[in-house]
C-alpha cells in the first residue's frame, strides 16, 4: 500500500524539526545551485512532495552507480531524498528475490501506471536478440520496453545507461546501446559519470520531487545545473595550466606541488561534470585533487578517445608507420616525376643540338 505522506511529514516523523526542515531546504537549494531566494519555494514544494514510485532496472552494469548513491553513513541530503522515494524494485537493495521480486515489480507498475519514475543503470545489449543480459529469463531489451511504457520519465543513471559506457567500448561484443537508443517516446534525463556523483543523482530526484518535472537539459540531455561547465573551467589547478606549469610524471616536483595534469592525460577540457565543485565523498576531493588526471567518464565514448595518459592534444590516428609509408610513396612519386621530367628535358636538349 502506498503511503501518501509528504516529504516534510516523513522528515518530522524521523525527528527533523521545523528548523531542521528549513536547514534541509537551504542545503537542498544550495546543492541544486538554486539561488537562496528560492529557499521558500523549495520549502513549499517539499511540503507537498508526495512519494513517487520508482522502479530501478539494472542491466549491463557494475553496480557502481548504486554503490555511489548508498555510500553515506549519517543522514545526508542525498540519503533523505533517496529514502523518500518509494523504491519498489532494485536488485541490490531489495529484500525480495526471484518470482517475488518480479511480482512486486508488476504490482508497482500496475498501481502507478503512467506515474512512476523509471531509473536505469547499465547498457542494453542488442546482439543476437539481446540474449547477453537477461533477468528472470527476460532480456533487458524486452524488460526496458515493457517498464518504460508506463513510466512518467526515465532517468539514465551512469555513463552505461546514458551513453553506452564500458560495454559499448570497441569492439562492443554484445551490441550494447544506451537507453535513449531504444526508448524514443518518453522524457529521458541522462545522469552520466562512472559513477555519477551521488548529489547529482539525488539532485535530479529532488527536482522531480519538488517541481514534478525534470530539470533543464543540455544537448546531450544532461541536467545543465550539474553538467553545464567543464572540469577545466572550474579546476583549482587552472592557474598552473595558464602559467604553463605541468607535472611531467606522477612523482616529480611538479606533481608534488600540485601542478596541472594536462601532460599526464587529463581530459578536463572536454569533460562536463560537477566533480570540481561538488567533489566526491561528501566534498572530500576529486581525481585531479588526488593527483590523477580526469578520464572524462561522463562523456560519450570516453573509453575510445585515446589513452587515459595521452595528452588531449595528441592525435588518435592509426600509426606512425602509415605516415612513414606515405613518405616513401611520396618520394617514389617524386622520383618518377623527376625521371619523366629529365627524359623530356634530355629530348628537348637533343632536339636543340641537331
Amino acid at each position: 500500500m502506498k503511503e501518501e505522506k509528504t516529504l516534510a511529514e516523513r522528515l518530522r516523523e524521523r525527528g527533523v524539526t521545523r528548523r531542521g526542515f528549513m536547514k534541509f531546504c537551504a542545503a537542498t537549494a544550495s546543492m541544486m545551485a538554486l539561488s537562496p531566494a528560492m529557499i521558500p519555494r523549495v520549502a513549499a514544494a517539499l511540503q507537498q512532495a508526495k512519494r513517487p514510485s520508482v522502479i530501478w532496472l539494472s542491466f549491463q552494469e557494475c553496480t557502481g552507480c548504486t554503490e555511489s548513491l548508498t555510500r553515506s553513513h549519517a543522514p545526508t541530503i542525498e540519503g533523505l531524498i533517496f529514502d523518500h522515494i518509494s523504491l519498489d524494485y532494485h536488485h541490490t537493495l531489495q529484500a525480495a528475490a526471484g518470482d517475488h521480486a518480479e511480482h512486486a515489480r508488476d504490482e508497482a507498475m500496475q498501481e502507478n501506471w503512467g506515474k512512476y519514475l523509471l531509473v536505469v543503470d547499465g547498457s542494453i545489449p542488442l546482439k543476437d536478440d539481446g540474449i547477453y543480459s537477461t533477468i528472470a529469463g527476460i532480456t533487458n531489451l524486452a524488460m526496458l520496453k515493457e517498464v518504460a511504457a508506463g513510466a512518467a520519465a526515465i532517468i539514465s543513471v551512469g555513463t552505461c545507461a546514458a551513453f553506452g559506457g564500458l560495454p559499448m567500448a570497441r569492439p562492443n561484443p554484445t551490441g550494447a546501446v544506451p537507453v535513449s537508443e531504444i526508448i524514443k517516446d518518453k522524457p529521458i534525463v541522462n545522469v552520466p559519470g562512472c559513477p555519477p556523483i551521488p548529489v547529482v543523482i539525488s539532485g535530479v530526484l529532488a527536482h522531480f520531487l519538488m517541481f514534478g518535472r525534470l530539470p533543464e537539459l543540455d544537448a546531450l540531455n544532461r541536467p545543465k545545473v550539474f553538467f553545464g561547465q567543464s572540469i577545466h573551467d572550474r579546476c583549482y589547478r587552472r592557474p598552473f595550466y595558464d602559467r604553463g606549469q605541468f607535472a611531467e610524471t606522477f612523482d616529480d616536483e611538479g606533481a608534488r606541488k600540485g601542478w596541472c595534469l594536462f601532460k599526464l592525460g587529463c581530459k578536463g577540457p572536454i569533460t562536463y561534470n560537477a566533480c570540481a565543485t561538488a567533489k566526491w565523498n561528501e566534498g572530500t576531493s576529486f581525481p585531479i585533487e588526488a593527483g590523477h588526471g580526469c578520464i572524462g567518464c561522463s562523456e560519450p565514448g570516453f573509453w575510445d578517445k585515446g589513452g587515459f595518459y595521452d595528452a588531449l592534444s595528441k592525435g588518435t590516428y592509426g600509426s606512425a608507420e602509415g605516415i612513414a609509408l606515405a613518405a616513401g610513396v611520396g618520394a617514389a612519386i617524386g622520383v618518377a616525376a623527376a625521371l619523366g621530367s629529365r627524359s623530356r628535358q634530355a629530348k628537348a636538349d637533343r632536339k636543340e643540338e641537331v
Binding site: 592534444s313 595528441k314 592525435g315 629529365r342
Partner: protein, 217 residues
C-alpha cells in the same frame, strides 16, 4: 563519432599522409630535375660554399631596396616569429609533436603565446591589406596567394577562439581548429606555402650557379 573524434582521428591521419607524400613528391621532383648545363668557363669551383652563403645573404635586403621592401620584410619576420611562437612554444602543441615524433622541449606561459597570436593575426591582416591595395602586388597576386593566406590565418584565429572559449561549445571550436590545421597541411605541398621547404634549395641553387660565374650573390 563526434567532430572532434574525426578531427583527431582519421582526418589527422590522412592529412598527415597527404602532407608527407605531397612534400616529398614536390621536393624530390624539384631536386632531381636537370639544371641547364652552364657551358661557360667556371670562375670558381667552390659552388657549395656559394650556395650556403646565398641562403643567408638573402635574409635581409640590401640598402638599395629598403625603401620599397622594408615594411614587408619586417612584417614578414614578425609574422614568422609569431607563428613559430604560437605553433612551437605552446605546451599542448608540443605534446602533439611529442606524440607524433617523440621529441619535446619546454613551452612558455600561455598568456605570452596568446600575445604572440594576436600580433600574428594583426600582421597577417596588415600584409593582406598591403597586397590588395598596392597596385603592383594586386596585379601579380594569384588565387594561390590568397588561399595560402587563408590557410595560414584560420588555424591561428580558430586556435585563439578555442583557447578563449568563444565562437561556440569548446569541443566544436577545438575540432574546427584541428580541421583548419589539417586543411593547411593538405594545401601545404601544393601552393605557395611550400616556400617553407623550397627557400633553402632555391637560394642555394642560385647561389651555386652565381658562384660558378664568380659572382658573390
Amino acid at each position: 563519432m563526434t567532430l572532434l573524434d574525426f578531427a583527431r582521428g582519421p582526418a589527422l591521419e590522412w592529412s598527415l599522409i597527404i602532407f608527407v607524400a605531397g612534400s616529398l613528391w614536390r621536393l624530390v621532383g624539384a631536386l632531381l630535375v636537370r639544371r641547364k648545363r652552364d657551358l661557360s668557363e667556371p670562375r670558381s669551383r667552390s659552388t657549395v660554399a656559394g650556395g650556403i652563403r646565398t641562403v643567408f645573404s638573402r635574409m635581409f635586403p640590401r640598402k638599395e631596396f629598403h625603401s620599397k621592401t622594408l615594411f614587408a620584410v619586417i612584417a614578414g619576420y614578425v609574422l614568422h616569429f609569431g607563428l613559430a611562437i604560437t605553433v612551437f612554444l605552446f605546451t599542448p602543441h608540443i605534446l602533439f609533436i611529442d606524440g607524433l615524433l617523440g621529441i619535446s622541449w619546454p613551452g612558455i606561459p600561455n598568456n605570452l603565446v596568446m600575445f604572440a597570436g594576436v600580433v600574428t593575426i594583426a600582421t597577417l591582416v596588415a600584409l593582406l591589406i598591403r597586397r590588395m591595395t598596392t597596385p603592383l602586388l594586386k596585379k601579380i597576386s594569384s588565387a594561390d596567394d590568397y588561399i595560402s593566406w587563408v590557410m595560414t590565418l584560420l588555424p591561428v584565429l580558430t586556435g585563439m577562439m578555442a583557447y578563449a572559449h568563444i565562437g561556440g561549445p569548446y569541443q566544436t571550436v577545438l575540432a574546427i581548429h584541428i580541421l583548419t590545421v589539417e586543411a593547411m597541411l593538405i594545401w601545404f605541398p601544393f601552393g605557395k606555402l611550400f616556400h617553407a621547404v623550397l627557400w633553402i634549395p632555391s637560394r642555394a641553387q642560385m647561389g651555386a650557379a652565381m658562384q660558378r660565374r664568380g659572382v658573390k650573390a
